[in-house]
């Protein structure tokens, strides 16, 4: 029976699988009976009013908020059972773009990226340097790698955060408002980049309220409402 279930999951190809999950944050119920399946390589938008739980949902997906009941499986990891020590290893399967960037403010962009690679087991200097210039080129940030985060504009910091999320070629990219600080042209480029990455098999899940972007780069869209989520037709927004 178990084998059959695994087989079923393989066919479904789901990298994000949430069944009847309830999520609490400080005894405050954020989600109830949450159900969501996102498959490998899918590109999905997450919308909703401010405070509707977009960030909380993403935090749940990267195990910052623990699930109270139900079942959440992300990239073959069961978040119901995950121990605190195993969270670091689990997060290596994800690329996370934080709403507030979360760059290490005490070092340069290059050192920020190097930290992630070293932390996730990269040893060879040439490989590290090569990968860093690859990701920086993909977000057009080659010229600021020796600057510290506070020397960059909001948009540049945002792109640095995206570059960091791409480093380990993650199975899933979770992005919280990745275009929030960018002008329309740069937003466009970033979404194009993320779409391209998703077409190569990485699942991309973006929380945003930039409807212009959604309308331009149409994709499956999910909305947070009333402690749950619903699928919405992008044309009706």
């Amino acid at each position: 029976m178990e084998k059959y279930t695994n087989f079923q999951e393989k066919i479904n190809n789901n990298v994000i699988e949430i069944q009847n999950a309830s999520v609490y944050q400080n005894e405050h119920k954020v989600f109830e009976n949450l159900n969501l399946n996102i498959s490998k390589g899918e590109f999905v938008y997450l919308i909703g009013d401010t405070g509707s739980g977009k960030s909380s949902l993403l935090k749940t997906l990267y195990a910052e908020i623990r699930v109270s009941s139900g079942k959440i499986i992300i990239a073959d990891t069961n978040l119901n059972e995950i121990k605190h020590k195993a969270i670091a290893k689990f997060r290596r399967k994800l690329g996370i773009v934080f709403q507030d960037f979360q760059l290490l403010t005490d070092r340069t962009i290059y050192e920020n990226l190097k930290f992630v690679l070293k932390a996730t087991g990269w040893k060879k200097k040439e490989e590290i340097n090569e990968r860093i210039s690859e990701v920086l080129t993909s977000v057009h940030l080659e010229n600021v790698k020796d600057k510290t985060p506070h020397q960059l504009s909001g948009g540049e910091q945002q792109r640095a955060a995206i570059a960091r999320a791409l480093l380990n070629r993650p199975q899933i990219i979770l992005a919280d408002e990745p275009t929030g600080n960018l002008d329309p042209e740069k937003s466009d480029k970033i979404i194009q980049l993320l779409k391209e990455i998703s077409s190569r098999g990485t699942t991309v899940f973006i929380a945003t309220h930039d409807y212009l972007i959604i309308k331009k780069h149409k994709a499956r869209t999910i909305k947070c409402v009333d402690k749950g989520i619903i699928e919405v037709d992008i044309n009706t927004i």
């Binding site: 944050q25 400080n26 935090k59 990267y62 910052e64 908020i65 605190h84 020590k85 969270i87 670091a88 290893k89 997060r91 290596r92 994800l94 996370i96 934080f98 979360q102 760059l103 290490l104 403010t105 005490d106 340069t108 930290f115 992630v116 070293k118 932390a119 996730t120 020796d146 600057k147 510290t148 020397q151 960091r164 380990n168």
Partner: protein, 292 residues
């Protein structure tokens, strides 16, 4: 421009370490000074105690060979630090000199007896041991009587006991204060990096990987602080020697060596342990707890 700013940032990080090192070394200096006093107080009390002794009056008209044999036996005892033989003649001469009168020609004989002064090892300088020793010795046929100052000894013992007790309490208290101070200083410096620590965890770094650079830095801080504290202590020792005219013996190199090693160990261990627990605490905190 960038280089200039980086330099500024480095200086800022450096200066924050300096304040940790400075407070750590001051605390270590106090700990070092106190352990030096503590170790020396033992020596001082031993010195006083070893000046205590008892006198054995020997019977008159005992052949000198027997007296000498008895003295040899006495010196072989574990409680004896040193002995001093005073012959009948020496005692008579001393008394004559003290009195300023030739009492021998007056009495026509000397009533004084030959004696042996025994100075004790510090461990035996208490009334219990002394009573046992003197009772045993009194049974010896060459001994006329034994004699020691019981009251003085009692007073001395109770006073040194009380003094070392207070010194110990004071030291423990000061050590606790030192520990709290170091711990607080380090926690504060780690606290200022709590968001960085959180971020490191969010991008997939394991606890050990996050902790490693902090621990390495804490070891350096411990070493630097100990070096500063040792130099300060050397200065203090020189000053003490100069001011107290060597009444307090702080030139015992072995003792000072022990204190220096102790300071290094305490410095490094305290710095490491405080850093370890502080970083561990911030790794585990959630966003909400971090901001509260």
């Amino acid at each position: 421009m960038t280089k200039h700013k980086n330099k500024f940032l480095k200086r800022k990080i450096w200066s924050s370490s300096v304040s940790v090192v400075l407070s750590l070394s001051l605390v270590l200096f106090v700990v070092g000074l106190l352990s030096l006093v503590l170790l020396n107080s033992q020596k001082l009390s031993n010195y006083v105690k070893e000046n205590i002794g008892f006198t054995i009056m020997l019977k008159d008209s005992i052949p000198q060979v027997e007296e000498m044999t008895f003295r040899k036996e006495l010196e072989a005892e574990p409680y004896t630090k040193k002995t001093k033989y005073i012959s009948k003649q020496q005692a008579t001469e001393k008394l004559m000199k003290d009195l300023g009168e030739d009492f021998v020609s007056f009495l026509e004989y000397s009533p004084l007896l030959p004696s042996i002064d025994v100075k004790l090892n510090a461990d035996f300088a208490n009334t219990d041991s002394l009573e046992k020793i003197t009772i045993k010795l009194s049974k010896n046929p060459v001994v006329f009587e034994t004699y020691f100052q019981k009251d003085l000894l009692k007073k001395l013992n109770s006073n040194t006991k009380r003094l070392s007790f207070f010194l110990l309490i004071f030291s423990v208290l000061l050590f606790l204060i030192a520990f709290a101070l170091i711990n607080n200083t380090i926690r504060l410096s780690v606290y200022s990096k709590r968001f960085l620590i959180k971020t490191m965890g969010l991008v997939g770094a394991t606890n050990n990987f996050i902790q490693k650079p902090f621990i390495i830095k804490s070891i350096y801080q411990g070493v630097y602080s100990s070096i500063f504290a040792v130099f300060m202590l050397i200065g203090a020792i020189k000053l003490i020697q100069k001011e107290t005219l060597k009444i307090l013996d702080v030139s015992d190199l072995k003792l000072i060596g022990i204190v220096f090693v102790l300071m290094f160990l305490i410095g490094i261990l305290l710095s490491m342990a405080s850093t370890f627990f502080a970083v561990k605490k911030y790794i585990k905190l959630t966003d909400d707890q971090l901001y509260n």
